[in-house]
């Protein structure tokens, strides 16, 4: 990767078509996420922050403007190439964890490696190592319903990191957790080296811990 910037957005807009009505969600956003950045995006619901996160995560394409993820222009990528980009460059952490039910912590963490064609033995080894790193080395064969919310979110973080992404996108990662557990999850995110963390939250206290903050309102960055 020649570009040191993980994500570059230039006058990005995103308009949804709902029943023939155009709803602008993003109205021209320019933003750069550098390697190793720690960025918080705050804003009320409907401000466009979730849309921005989906775009940064290569889950969606801009209606107009230029968006580079890992140096690649998403407008030129096929759905399969977008999937590959998500697999290699992006890690997602969701408010509701999004773990596969009836599946062990280790297999949940190993899931992204399945889509990279990594063999079963190596997948398990890498998933085990990553779970140990998030402090869950003793929970390898537990299923989501056997773990607390904080533990589940740690499994989700391990899953996001197992592919060695350059950006970790966390959408309200502490939204479903009590404050003590949330605190430990945030501490874990802050301890990560070499990966840019983008935190989407409406919690000012959470956002305040980031290196920089972006506030969104009505599809625009206001500060």
């Amino acid at each position: 990767m020649t570009s040191p910037d993980a994500i570059v957005a230039d006058e990005v807009t995103r308009t949804y078509e709902l029943d023939g009505v155009s709803v602008p969600a993003l109205r021209g956003v320019s933003l750069t996420v550098e390697a190793g950045d720690y960025l918080a995006i705050v804003g009320a619901s409907g401000s466009g922050k979730s849309t921005l996160m989906h775009l940064m995560g290569a889950l969606d394409r801009p209606t107009s403007g230029r968006l580079l993820i890992g140096g690649r222009d998403v407008a030129t990528l096929s759905p399969a190439e977008m999937a590959h980009l998500r697999n290699t460059t992006i890690g997602f952490v969701f408010q509701s964890f999004h773990l596969l039910p009836r599946t062990t912590a280790r297999d949940n963490v190993a899931l992204p490696l399945v889509y990279r064609g990594v063999g079963r033995r190596e997948r398990r080894a890498r998933a085990t190592a990553m779970l140990s790193r998030v402090g869950l080395g003793h929970r390898l064969d537990h299923r989501p319903n056997q773990m607390s919310g904080g533990e589940q979110q740690r499994v989700a973080i391990a899953r996001a990191l197992v592919t060695g992404p350059s950006v970790l996108l966390a959408d309200e990662p502490t939204g479903n957790l009590d404050s003590a557990t949330g605190e430990s999850v945030l501490t874990l995110l802050e301890s990560l080296d070499g990966v840019a963390v983008v935190l989407v939250t409406h919690d000012r206290d959470v956002a305040a811990r980031a290196r920089r903050q972006i506030t969104m309102r009505d599809g625009l960055i206001v500060s």
Binding site: L59, R86, H98
Partner: protein, 394 residues
């Protein structure tokens, strides 16, 4: 994603919904089972009939008036014993020519009576057809030339009239005329729907006198070998047409009889298989339906898989394999069901059944194909789901 991994995911998904998977499979199980069982019964029936036709004897030529056409009305016979003599001259060997004039008659012995198919024949019948005697002896040439009133009884008639007693030398009446029993046939069972144990053979001359006619119904020739059979048939027909310029004659070989019967039974088997195939189709629609429900139910999972890097193809293959797995497991179970049903029918009813590899292979192939065909639409739908929408689904 590797295919082995996709299989594992598909198996897990089916296990997670055990009852639903089983019920969905049931449609395929019944469809495949019906195809296998019905094709087995059709094939078994065909084999049985072929064996019976072949059991008549080899290199047989059957000569009848009229044309060989299943749709044509039977032609009244104008053949007489003089024609038989002419045919015998063409064949050059009396022992290779058999004739028959048949009539349904009531046969009595004392107070007992039975309904029999009386066959007026030559003494050559056992050498032309395959007929074995159980007791006594068959008709002789003298019996035929003198029109002696002697009879050889089918096993069924012998039992009906005499029970366990030895019928040889006893008197019976056929159509009110006395005959003496000189032999009985071995038990044969049914052939082409005819009970061959109810035959009574008498000299053709005696039968003609009884029936007040000089006609015979038809004749049969055993050709010396397979190569001369067609030429011999043509020569015999030519000789008969010369004597009866107004009548057509047909010389039919066993192969031709088998061909006609085989065609009819083949069509019948095909129709049965098609009817069973409809239930397989219905099973396939069920699979498609359940897969669509499954895609909807697992929208969140699909979204998550896409978020961590699954391509549309990976998701599509996962759901397609799930459908194929449903139908192939259903197919294997259906084959087991069909084979069991066929074996039971074969054992417990008079209907024969023969299990053939091609019907099993076909049934399995079709069930896998049903999985692919009916799995494609749900799989495509899953593969094309927008990850943003899918992740947001609760």
């Amino acid at each position: 994603m590797r295919i082995a991994e996709a299989w594992r995911v598909a198996v897990d998904a089916l296990r997670a919904n055990r009852l639903r998977s089983t019920l969905t499979m049931l449609g395929v199980v019944i469809g495949v089972g019906a195809v296998v069982a019905l094709v087995s019964i059709g094939t078994g029936t065909k084999h049985q009939i072929e064996q019976q036709v072949e059991g008549l004897g080899s290199n047989l030529l059957i000569v009848v008036p009229g044309r060989l056409d299943p749709g044509a009305a039977p032609t009244a016979s104008t053949l007489t014993m003089d024609d038989v003599d002419a045919v015998t001259r063409v064949v050059g060997d009396r022992s290779r020519v058999a004739v028959t004039i048949s009539s349904g008659e009531t046969v009595r012995s004392g107070s007992r009576s039975a309904y029999a198919s009386m066959q007026g024949v030559l003494e050559t019948t056992p050498t032309v057809f395959v007929r074995r005697l159980d007791r006594g002896q068959y008709l002789t040439r003298t019996d035929v030339t003198t029109g002696r009133r002697v009879a050889v009884l089918g096993a069924g008639i012998a039992t009906q009239l005499f029970g366990d007693r030895d019928p040889i030398g006893r008197q019976i009446t056929i159509g009110g005329v006395r005959f003496r029993v000189i032999g009985t046939f071995e038990r044969l069972g049914q052939s082409l729907g005819v009970d061959r144990d109810s035959e009574v053979h008498v000299p053709v001359t005696a039968a003609q006198r009884l029936l007040g006619t000089d006609r015979i119904d038809g004749l049969a020739i055993r050709a010396p070998d397979r190569d001369t059979i067609d030429a011999l048939g043509a020569a015999v027909v030519a000789a008969l047409v010369k004597r009866h310029p107004d009548t057509d004659f047909s010389a039919v070989t066993q192969e031709q009889i088998l061909g006609v019967l085989g065609d009819i039974l083949g069509v019948l088997t095909g129709v049965l298989a098609a009817i069973a195939g409809i239930s397989l189709l219905v099973g396939g629609v069920g699979v498609s339906n359940i897969m669509l429900v499954s895609v909807r139910e697992r929208t969140r999972e699909i979204g998550l898989r896409k978020a961590v890097g699954a391509r549309p193809r990976d998701i599509g293959i996962q759901f397609l394999l799930e459908a194929v797995l449903l139908t192939t497991i259903g197919g294997v179970l259906g084959m087991a069901l069909g084979v069991t049903a066929a074996l039971l029918v074969d054992r417990l009813t008079p209907v024969p059944a023969a299990i053939t590899w091609w019907s099993l292979t076909l049934a399995f192939g079709v069930s896998a194909a049903v999985g692919i065909i009916f799995g494609v639409i749900p799989a495509q739908r899953a593969g094309r789901l927008d990850p943003v929408v899918a992740l947001r689904t609760e």
